[in-house]
Symmetry: C2
């Protein structure tokens, strides 16, 4: 256990005072960085990179070494969990992720195991330990998982989807079966995140990437209910400090009150939601993370600074804000533009924490 | 001028009493219908189909002949307006729409003409007249346009986009230039919709398909302001009756109050918004159109009926509801499933209008 040199992220997620607003970026270890592309080339392919703890550590640290970020996030993929449940994850060049054995019926759901994370996802836990050692207390390490509903869509579709044809058909025709699948995935996710925490993850983020593809009623029944179970089921303290949980439902701006009521410490916001209005709606129940439009980073550093100023001003004075993009950083962004955003956040936020 | 046999749509859009809730489907004239696929084959390609008034009339009427729908909607494409502004629309097989001459700089914006719709988009007006004659008063005919922001994204990108790299860059770096572009497009859209109304369109829908890709602040400045100008600028009466205007911002559930304040008669809702809550928020300012998840139509007719019942119940008693999907019907849907939805709407809604 090393003392953290920079614990702004953990403090802001718990709405404790900070000197400046902490900032990190979803997909900060990613294709926009030439050093990432070089490591990935060496790894051979994306999945080999995820499954190699040394290389996963290397790419996790790259953005932290390049920029004064306030957090590192484990480099991995949300589909490692279904892969460990026996679905056979693979990536085809130019295509999205695919499963060799999608979940289509009763029997497929019944035979799904709930994997033991140390045994079946040991490479992730090894990566967490390696990264913690390499970080040596500079900034906290975020662990993460996909939400049960999000993982279930990939598991039922057999890959990415535009219209969720099979998964929504199961949801509407066989809600009982979808619930059984979600129950198993939820147990797997809780065990997986708890193992990440035991291995050294200091905060947790749950990506409910496809929650926003649901109707309000279906969201509550098939996504929110399981997010709630995760929040209630997770270890929330480690190394003598709170392990905050961030929930991020992309497209979930209408449901912030529901999400705040889960008991999560913080909510991620996409950029369609006004962060000032969001703060007003959730009050002091949760911290908020976000929410610059990632496409702002296509503009010049001076314009990026203007837009950062607006988000900081929308949130207003006081702690409880973790600056981030409203979605992952786009692969074509110039790393200097990311640098401009991070510098602007630290510079311009000081006055809100006086 | 023929008396309308079925004016439920126009009555519901004006929140006047109806016997049952009217229903139509976005993209009801589309690829899920074998008769549409046959006509399109005969036309050669999509653009030739749009530009041939006889064939456009044929496909517009196909769903009205097959199902007891309460409206026909002009078969056309939102990109006919930029095409008439000289951008050179074309479609590549398997790809989305493309422009030969995208709008990239000052000079491109300056030289854009505001087309005379009867002269440059005469094939659309001819289609409207042909369809009105062929409908012979059975149901009203909806005209439509893309919103200025939505059209501008295609014009600047040169086609479809995931991240709006060029259009958002222009928006953030050169807001003045983006506003000049939007101003021109808005004038073109108003002239285009007015010409549709003069030719016989009895209600108007504006598709703000990409408004939801903006931050709240950018939405207000770059999309909402122009929707407002359209609503204020349009002819609102023809043939002795109100021509209602429906605004549909996909992903705009957070902004319904703003959209209702434009003076539109009705708002389209995607399926993420609870229609009961939406009604509560907008009060009696506007009617609401929507909002069944289009993926419900993948489920069996019995399950479709259940989900229709929930949407009707969420809206509750009284007029002001036009039933629709929350987005266009998916091409893989079985036409019998669309039939089940339409039948369920008419059957189950009667009690809410007693």
């Amino acid at each position: 256990m090393t003392e953290l040199e920079n614990d702004r992220l953990l403090r802001a997620l718990c709405r404790q005072p900070v000197d400046v607003t902490p900032v990190w970026m979803m997909r900060q270890a990613g294709r926009y960085l030439p050093e990432y592309r070089a490591t990935r080339e060496r790894a051979g392919d994306f999945l080999s990179l995820c499954k190699n703890p040394e290389l996963a550590c290397e790419v996790t640290l790259q953005p932290v070494e390049r920029f004064p970020l306030d957090a590192a996030i484990l480099f991995s993929d949300i589909l490692t969990v279904p892969d460990a449940m026996g679905l056979g994850l693979y990536f085809e060049a130019g295509e999205g992720p695919r499963f060799q054995h999608p979940v289509r019926d009763e029997r497929d759901v019944e035979r799904l195991p709930v994997p033991d994370p140390e045994a079946e996802l040991g490479y992730v836990m090894a990566a967490v330990r390696t990264i913690r050692a390499a970080l040596a207390g500079r900034v906290p390490l975020l662990g993460f998982s996909g939400s049960p509903w999000t993982l279930a869509t990939y598991m039922v579709e057999g890959g990415s989807s535009q219209t969720f044809r099979r998964s929504k058909r199961m949801l509407y025709e066989r809600p009982d079966l979808m619930h059984r699948l979600l129950d198993k995935v939820t147990r797997a996710v809780i065990a997986y995140l708890d193992a990440q925490i035991a291995a050294g993850a200091q905060a947790i983020m749950v990506f409910d990437t496809w929650g926003g593809a649901l109707s309000t009623r279906a969201f509550r029944e098939f996504s929110l209910a399981y997010l709630e179970r995760i929040v209630a089921g997770l270890t929330r303290e480690a190394e003598g400090r709170r392990v905050p949980v961030i929930l991020f439902t992309k497209g979930g701006g209408l449901w912030l009150e529901d999400l705040a009521a889960t008991g999560a410490d913080a909510l991620g916001l996409d950029w369609s939601t006004d962060i000032g209005q969001a703060r007003h709606r959730v009050g002091d129940r949760v911290a908020l993370q976000g929410n610059l439009d990632p496409s702002v980073l296509y503009a010049s550093p001076a314009h990026i600074r203007e837009q950062v100023a607006l988000v900081l001003d929308d949130y207003g004075p006081g702690s409880g804000h973790v600056f981030n993009l409203g979605h992952g950083i786009h692969p074509e962004v110039d790393p200097e533009h990311a640098a401009a955003m991070i510098e602007a956040v630290h510079d311009l936020s000081r006055r809100y924490h006086a």
